[in-house]
């Protein structure tokens, strides 16, 4: 197979590659081999992987090919090479959590999502770069090197699932697990030009997943397309007895919902909060996305989201206090082992009163009900830009380097995503343009709790009429 043919295999979407594996036109060993070769060729520039286990991956791929030849397909991801944010535990395997503190950490048990992905037939290549302990929205990492945007390596990837966004954008893997506590799936998805979904809070098990915030952590995929995300999410979603907080709500067939028909669907565009101070280029790309949805028959309605001051205020402290709590021992004993921006962020949580924290949690249900009544009374879903700003450079957001204004820019990156975590709503980010620097722009689609099928349906409908999700970074051949 020549180089062009190999590259074209990795340009397939996850679902197309799965179909090719199923009909025998390609093997798991071939896909795993080209993925590993692509990491060798490309990853020096973007630094999306922390570790890879090529030999083990090829061995697994070979076993999967034998199974397929004998007619024993494991599941909907049979033979697909994936790699995941390096915080999903697998017994005996490295899980650095992007940190120096856990640089040698090998857990004794396996995350439920990893079990489900491998039970569905996927091949795990290794652990992907991430923000240290999943705690920044830009993808900076002082310990393993910053992950760099495949569209332009001076720019950030978004975080905290930086390697997941970069590896999917650079077509090194067909999909990757990320995690999202304040935007950490949707931000790298938007910034790297891929699709990423954070499901409803409680939709996906967190057993065996590095914690950041008990109340706001979510597990989800980054992929090329909404259809890919639907298949991936369908594998990992659903109740897990090992995670008592996971929902028993039945998991529908997400792919079956992707009919492309959004005629008559009412899609809200907020009149408040989400557009304050927005960059004109982001606004223009968002407006164009709205026009695409309208042309497909959606009814666009203005909608005011109530309680946004409360959502922003409360949402801003829950994960900080929970993160500050679980990091307290290391902050006492080895604060120097954290990057400056992370110890700087963890430290002030010690000054937030417990009464504030509990107020934020106690009001969450009442606020969700009020928002749902006001918003979903007039629309079926609402959309906003994923970021209000154009993609910033790594330097502009480098707190450790002492860049003036970095703290403020850093915090503004996630201003549109954090509120969705507090509300617990499902949200998918979809690429919708390129800015004047050649960096991607994305918008996010939110629905009612457990409306993953609906938000994916809208995303898929949009992608049927656009090609932003198919475009390749300049140096990806």
């Amino acid at each position: 197979m020549n180089a062009a043919a190999k590259s074209s295999l990795l340009h397939l979407s996850l679902t197309d590659a799965a179909d090719a594996l199923k009909d025998g036109s390609v093997t798991a060993v071939e896909l795993t081999t080209v993925a590993l070769e692509a990491f060798t060729r490309v990853d020096k520039a973007i630094n999306s992987a922390i570790w890879l286990e090529g030999a083990a991956a090829l061995e697994a791929a070979e076993a999967l090919d034998k199974k397929r030849k004998s007619g024993a397909m494991l599941g909907p991801l049979h033979g697909l090479p994936l790699a995941h944010k390096d915080m999903y535990y697998k017994a005996g395997k490295l899980s650095t959590c992007g940190s120096a503190i856990r640089k040698d950490f090998r857990p004794g048990y396996t995350a439920t999502v990893m079990e489900r992905l491998e039970d569905a037939g996927s091949v795990t290549l290794g652990g992907l770069n991430m923000a240290e302990f999943a705690q920044n929205p830009t993808g900076h990492n002082q310990h393993y090197g910053h992950c760099r945007n495949p569209w332009h390596t001076d720019y950030c990837t978004g975080g905290s699932s930086s390697g997941s966004g970069a590896a999917v954008a650079a077509r090194l893997v067909y999909g990757a697990l990320g995690s999202d506590t304040g935007g950490s799936i949707r931000l790298p998805a938007a910034i790297c030009g891929v699709t990423g979904i954070k499901a409803t809070q409680t939709r996906v098990s967190r057993h065996g997943v590095m914690p950041l915030s008990f109340s706001a952590d979510n597990v989800g995929p980054l992929t090329q397309t909404a259809r890919d995300a639907a298949r991936f999410l369908g594998v990992i979603a659903g109740h897990d007895p090992k995670d008592p907080t996971s929902s028993a709500e039945p998991v529908p067939d997400y792919e079956a919902a992707l009919t492309g028909d959004i005629r008559g669907m009412r899609i809200g565009v907020p009149t408040n909060y989400f557009f304050d101070g927005i960059d004109p280029e982001v606004q223009a790309a968002f407006d164009a996305a709205v026009a695409v949805l309208e042309a497909r028959g959606a009814v666009i309605v203005p909608v005011t989201i109530p309680h946004m001051d409360a959502v922003a205020t409360y949402g801003g402290i829950v994960s900080r206090v929970e993160g500050g709590t679980i990091h307290a021992q290391w902050m006492r004993e080895r604060p120097q082992d954290y990057a400056v921006h992370l110890s700087g962020r963890l430290y002030p949580s010690q000054g937030i009163p417990g009464t504030y924290y509990l107020e934020a949690l106690a009001r969450r249900g009442a606020i969700l009900k009020a928002v749902a009544a006001a918003v979903f009374g007039v629309c079926d879903a609402f959309i906003t830009p994923t970021l209000r700003m154009k993609v910033p450079t790594l330097l502009a957001t480098d707190i450790d380097a002492g860049t003036p204004g970095a703290i403020e820019t850093f915090q503004d990156v996630s201003i549109n995503t954090r509120p969705i975590n507090y509300l617990g709503l499902p949200s998918v980010s979809v690429p919708c343009g390129l800015d004047s620097n050649g960096l991607p722009i994305g918008f996010q689609i939110q629905g009612r709790p457990f409306a993953e099928a609906r938000v994916l349906k809208i995303a898929d409908a949009y992608q049927r009429d656009t090609d932003w999700h198919r475009r390749l970074p300049p140096n990806v051949s």
């Binding site: 006492r332 962020r345 969700l368």
Partner: protein, 68 residues
């Protein structure tokens, strides 16, 4: 003169948790809690006596997408 927030946080972090301010960025971010405090001040009186954290899981169910 009001005590700077970073000094208040320093006393709290040391007294309650045995944690010291690790760097200047931490001090800047402690000072930035002023915006959080202002946010909470603006929300005073809105917490109902009966509100509790478990209401969130109930609200997810109550507001969920109806099944087709």
């Amino acid at each position: 003169m009001q005590t700077p927030l970073r000094e208040i946080v320093a006393v709290q972090a040391r007294t309650w948790s045995g944690i010291e301010q690790p760097n200047e960025a931490a001090g800047i971010m402690a000072d930035a809690l002023a915006a959080t405090i202002a946010g909470f001040e603006a929300l005073r009186g809105q917490l109902a006596f009966e509100d509790e954290p478990s209401s969130f899981e109930a609200a997810l169910q109550e507001t969920k997408e109806p099944q087709p």
